[in-house]
């Protein structure tokens, strides 16, 4: 019975191998072109971050956090940054931050326009949604293989992988935010003679901004997670600290890297969430007594646009 149904006669693995090899050989200029802006941006951001004296950077981040998210988050960021400095992972943290910052910039540049396009065209959205579904259900680990084949190893291919993993939420939330804008507001724009562009800039984007920033928050967290995983293809930063620690059974080193990752993730999350909440008009100023609660309790991630008119 077992032999009746033939097995393994479709050599999919060989096909994929051949396809990727073909792409790697023949589309090399294309991938080099894609790589270029990532590489350039990453280079300059990292250079800037590494060149900034830690004291100034810590003070700047704490001040920014205080202004954006209130005193509590400000103090949390101050302590976290100092901790990162004191446990000796400052350069690695800056590298990871540069990697994330690069990815975020490119995600915004790609993701928001695509999201807008999707919101305005159902056919495009149907195609993009299918792609996003596939992208988001594929384990992020799996992206590493084609990225290595097509872009090589190192921090720059790592950034490419981070972008691919981090961009879907931003596209989704941008699309959602624009589609959720009250129909009457759009009609008001049309009725007063707005062009399509004016509708977008005067009505849709301002209304959708809280949702888009909610998407940005998700994108930042995805980028944070992926920036660790790409250590496996040679990207530098905190992920590499953990990976090396594990490889050498140096638990202490791995733990230090892990702590750095956790602190950075919380800081990035609080800051981007504060950005989104500012847009929805929530007031984040309050006394010292509740600052820890703000840092450690998670606010709802998907902020709906305010329903009132």
């Amino acid at each position: 019975m077992y032999d009746l149904i033939p097995q393994g006669f479709i050599p999919l693995d060989k096909w994929i191998q051949a396809a990727i090899e073909w792409m790697a050989y023949n589309l090399r200029p294309l991938f080099q072109t894609i790589k270029w802006p990532v590489e350039t941006l990453l280079y300059w951001i990292e250079r800037g971050l590494q060149a900034t004296p830690p004291v100034i950077f810590v003070a700047a981040v704490a001040a920014l956090a205080w202004r954006l998210a209130g005193r509590g988050v400000g103090i949390f960021c101050l302590i976290s940054m100092l901790a990162i400095l004191f446990i000796g992972i400052w350069p690695e943290t800056m590298t990871t931050l540069a990697l994330i910052a690069t990815a975020i910039v490119i995600c915004v540049v790609i993701g928001i326009p695509i999201g807008i396009w999707c919101a305005r065209n159902d056919r495009v959205w149907n195609v993009v949604r299918a792609l996003l579904d596939i992208m988001q259900t594929t384990p992020s680990f799996v992206y590493l293989i084609p990225v290595v084949m097509l872009f090589g190893v190192g921090t720059v291919p790592g950034a490419v992988a981070v972008i691919v993993v981090a961009v879907p939420p931003l596209i989704r939330f941008t699309n959602l935010g624009i589609r959720m804008v009250d129909r009457e507001l759009i009609e008001a724009g049309v009725a007063f003679g707005a062009t399509d562009r004016q509708i977008l800039w005067e009505v849709q984007l301002p209304q959708a901004m809280p949702t888009i920033l909610g998407g940005l928050n998700q994108t930042v967290l995805m980028a944070m997670v992926m920036s660790v995983i790409v250590a496996m293809i040679g990207a530098e930063g905190l992920g590499l600290v953990v990976l090396q620690g594990l490889g050498r059974l140096d638990i202490g080193r791995a733990a230090v890297g892990g702590i750095g990752i956790v602190l950075m993730a919380i800081m990035l999350d609080r800051l981007t969430q504060a950005l989104a909440n500012r847009e929805t008009g929530q007031n984040y100023r309050s006394g010292f007594g509740t600052w820890w609660r703000r840092v450690f309790t998670s606010a709802p991630k998907e902020k709906a646009a305010p329903a009132e008119n």
Partner: protein
């Protein structure tokens, strides 16, 4: 009658295959049949309507009657599928995008049921919205918006967000935004329907007060027949995408002409709708007990006494009832004080109760006066 807007044989169909549906309509198939066979909705079904310049025309209908669709065809938020919409003779239905924007920016503006204000912009920026779209410089548009805010009485709220305002105030902002562009045609889509009754009454008065000086051509959409009677110079009643009755408020109530319309008119507050002139039958136009001078003024009573009352022709019955004294003859005078006719107590009671009145067609009068007891 000088028409600012004239709608001719307008159709609006919702569904993918408009030409086929139009062909079916021309074959004489009904709305329900089309919906059943092709799943296409006929939103506006051959509507023709004249909107006179400088007055309030009401389009009244229940939900699903196509009234909002019709209104949205006029400024082409919906594109009509057949027919003409003439604005001072120019067919809006055929206007290109560029010309259409021009018309929306300068000729036709709109007030929305749920106000349609930008929640993150303060009141004055919202009022200046239309001017901003037109490309007016910031200083100029804020100045203009400030002036219009003054007109609607909200100057002190200029820098607040809409969320800080009550519903009535928000709709004043919506109205100010529509007035700021100096458009001469105003489409008000259920503009007061979201407001509670007292505020709604205030807003109706406010609109009529503004209209006295502005003389805009207003197309007012409502589902509230009382509101239609109160503010409309003319009323068009819509059902199933068609205009089934059109006329002045008094005319519509007197002669509904249609079962559906009669259902609305039955509970009308006649005392507030009809005026003295509407009660004057031919026999009441005779001088009766009055003695007139050569220019038609009342000189006194034929019997020689001076014991009589007078009311202006446009005074509503409810005010007449409060003014006149039983037993005294009542003269109806026109604007320059000339005698038009006299009111008997019978005529006044008849008018209040909905008994037969001049100009009323008897056959349908029975419908209109369904709850009449004599």
């Amino acid at each position: 009658m000088d028409s600012r807007i004239e709608i001719r044989d307008l159709y609006k169909i919702f569904g993918p295959d408009v030409p086929k549906t139009l062909a079916m309509i021309r074959e004489g198939k009904g709305k329900d049949q089309i919906l059943k066979e092709t799943d296409h909705v006929v939103g506006v079904d051959r509507v023709s309507l004249r909107v006179p310049a400088g007055s309030v025309s009401v389009i009244m209908g229940l939900s699903g009657s196509g009234k909002s669709t019709l209104a949205r065809c006029i400024n082409r938020i919906h594109d009509p599928d057949a027919g003409e919409i003439l604005l001072d003779g120019e067919d809006i239905a055929k206007a290109g995008q560029e010309r259409l924007r021009e018309i929306r920016r300068t000729r036709i503006s709109m007030v929305f049921q749920n106000f349609g204000l930008l929640p993150k912009q303060n009141v004055i920026s919202n009022v200046a919205f239309g001017l901003k779209l037109r490309g007016m410089a910031e200083g100029a548009r804020l100045k203009k918006a400030g002036e219009v805010l003054e007109v609607v009485g909200l100057s002190s709220w200029a820098n607040h967000l809409p969320s800080a305002l009550s519903g009535g105030m928000r709709q004043r902002v919506g109205l100010a935004r529509a007035l700021a562009t100096d458009a001469d045609v105003l489409i008000m889509d259920e503009a007061f329907s979201a407001l509670d009754p007292l505020i709604r009454g205030d807003m109706q008065d406010e609109l009529l007060r503004l209209q006295e000086t502005l003389h805009k051509t207003i197309i007012f959409i409502t589902h509230d027949f009382q509101e239609a009677l109160r503010i409309g110079s003319r009323i068009a009643i819509m059902a199933d995408g068609q205009v089934i009755r059109e006329g002045t408020p008094q005319d519509v109530v007197l002669n509904p002409g249609h079962e559906y319309v009669a259902a609305f008119t039955r509970h009308v507050d006649r005392a507030r709708l009809f005026d003295a002139a509407s009660l004057l039958t031919d026999d009441l136009r005779a001088p009766g007990p009055f003695r007139l001078d050569e220019v038609g003024h009342v000189a006194g009573l034929a019997s020689g006494g001076a014991d009589w009352d007078s009311v202006p022709a446009d005074m509503k019955l409810i005010d007449i009832a409060a003014k006149v004294t039983a037993g005294r003859p009542v003269a109806v005078l026109d604007g320059s004080g000339r005698f038009l006719g006299q009111l008997s107590t019978d005529a006044l009671l008849g008018g209040l109760s909905g008994a037969r009145m001049p100009g009323q067609v008897t056959a349908i009068g029975q419908d209109a006066n369904g709850d009449r007891h004599v």
